[in-house]
């Protein structure tokens, strides 16, 4: 059962193993990553738990083939090898074939800083933005990851990306897919915190007169929720804090607020390569995403 220290990936292993027992339409495709964690599920369901080895083009191609036969496949590995490496397979073997799958990533943008650039995928959500009709969930807590995973598996034949991270918030929020959650209300602007960025944003904006929205998912973008949060005023100031490439959701915010004068500050992982190792906290600080940096940047923008 969940503990204070369990990770989203632990929860994914546990819940998916149980879903495989319950749902004969569910299949899981792996490329060695997490295979040990699914060993028991593979014993129980040898035909529906498939480890293709270190072959990520095949990971997505076989996932597309499974979907063509009517199954609901989940494909899982680190984000860099799930979205970036086999991107053309994502584009053609899923989207172009008109079939759907659930892609569940781990390691995200900065989960393993000592692993360096090769295991960092800050561009995954931006890449998926080049394709039509993706749902993108970015949970900030293992409980939210479970809710969103269960939703994704039952989400028809949609293509769904579930972005898991070891970076997490202390508390789970009552997330509803496709909806932003109002965590705090204020009058001087709106700060939209995505997934694991919420705790840092709440700390950064302590005592500030701003609305804090929480997004455990960014595609589809809850445009109505953002508009409502900006109020009926003549202008809107919006800060978006995302755990991947800075500015990824700026375009969505501009579209949502197209009818009103507005400003958007997009904060997240910088595009430049950051050739340092160390810890997640050190990387967040270097990216200007720790609470102190966030407070400075948000204050400057709203001044």
């Amino acid at each position: 059962m969940p503990t204070e220290t369990d990770t989203m990936r632990d929860r994914f292993l546990d819940v998916t193993s149980r879903l495989l027992d319950e749902d004969p339409r569910l299949a899981l495709v792996l490329a060695d990553i997490s295979a040990a964690g699914f060993a028991r599920a593979a014993e129980r369901h040898p035909d529906r738990v498939i480890n293709v080895g270190i072959r990520e083009q095949l990971l997505i191609g076989a996932t597309g083939g499974l979907a063509l036969t009517g199954l609901r496949p989940i494909a899982h590995t680190f984000a860099s090898f799930l979205v970036e490496r086999p991107f053309e397979q994502v584009k053609l073997d899923l989207v172009h074939q008109g079939v759907g799958a659930v892609l569940v990533s781990a390691a995200g943008s900065y989960d393993w800083p000592a692993g360096g650039r090769t295991h960092m995928s800050p561009g995954d959500v931006a890449l998926l933005d080049t394709l039509p009709d993706w749902t993108v969930h970015v949970p900030g807590h293992p409980d939210e990851a479970e809710t969103l995973l269960r939703h994704a598996v039952k989400d028809g034949d949609r293509n769904v990306y579930l972005r898991l991270s070891v970076h997490r918030n202390a508390l789970a929020r009552p997330v509803v897919p496709g909806r932003f959650l109002t965590v705090r209300e204020g009058r001087r602007g709106v700060v939209l915190a995505v997934g694991p960025m919420l705790d840092g944003v709440l700390q950064a904006t302590e005592g500030m007169d701003v609305t804090v929205l929480y997004a455990a998912g960014v595609r589809p973008f809850d445009a109505a929720g953002l508009r409502a949060a900006t109020g009926a005023g003549a202008a809107a100031d919006v800060v978006i804090v995302e755990p991947y490439l800075a500015g990824t959701s700026d375009r969505e915010a501009h579209e949502a607020l197209a009818e009103v004068p507005h400003r958007v500050l997009g904060l997240g992982v910088p595009r430049a390569e950051h050739r340092h190792y160390g810890s997640i906290d050190e990387h967040l600080a270097a990216y200007g995403l720790d609470a102190r940096s966030l407070r400075e940047r948000i204050t400057l923008f709203l001044r």
Partner: protein, 243 residues
Amino acid sequence: MTATKTISPQHRPHLHQGYGFEDLPALMALMTGAEKHGPAATSTLDALWVLYDRVLDVRPATFGRQDRDRFLLSKGHGPMAYYAVLAAKGFLSPAVLPSFGAYDSPLGHHPDRLLVPGAEIGSGSLGHGLPLAVGTALGLRAQGLTDPAVWVLLGDAEFDEGSNHEAVAFAGASGLDRLHVVVIDNSSATHGWRGGIAARFEAEGWSTATVDGRDHEALYAAFTAAHPGRPHAVVARVEPKES
């Protein structure tokens, strides 16, 4: 595209089951406007015909059934022979063939499964069909459908793409015995395949046969050879592309 020639089974009283192999050039002419076609345009024609005429258990009436055989055209370039065979077998109306490549046509220069009746996959970018076929074979097996065969057609130059080699190794190791590949070898791979293409499959535990890709009886025998516990690859050799 000015071809105006029309053909139909009614005009060929000797045929009772529809079109025959000898009708395919005329069907292709509806797309190409040419009476004769070079080796490159017809490199897949004989293999496709033998598969659809004598091997695959799939017809327009059964295309919606889960237990149909699947044919995945991975080499989506030069699909006129494929469209001609689909038309001959009743998946497509020959009346749409002259629209080949036109704005509203279902028939692109690479096939799109959402537009072409009878097409299992959309292809064109090389190296996608075999991994999709692996997943299809896995998906059928997982649903207890151990009868349907999954066939995928590749070209020898397409075999350059590394994604094929991911699939060949995995399928061999997994003993995916409902998976079948036909490689049309017209010697078009830039660097060739020293030792032959079949050797790549054999090394990964596949059953293989290499035959004359114009000889229908040889193709049929190779396509229907038993291969218990192993996937099966047929290399069909045809005239070099530049001949």
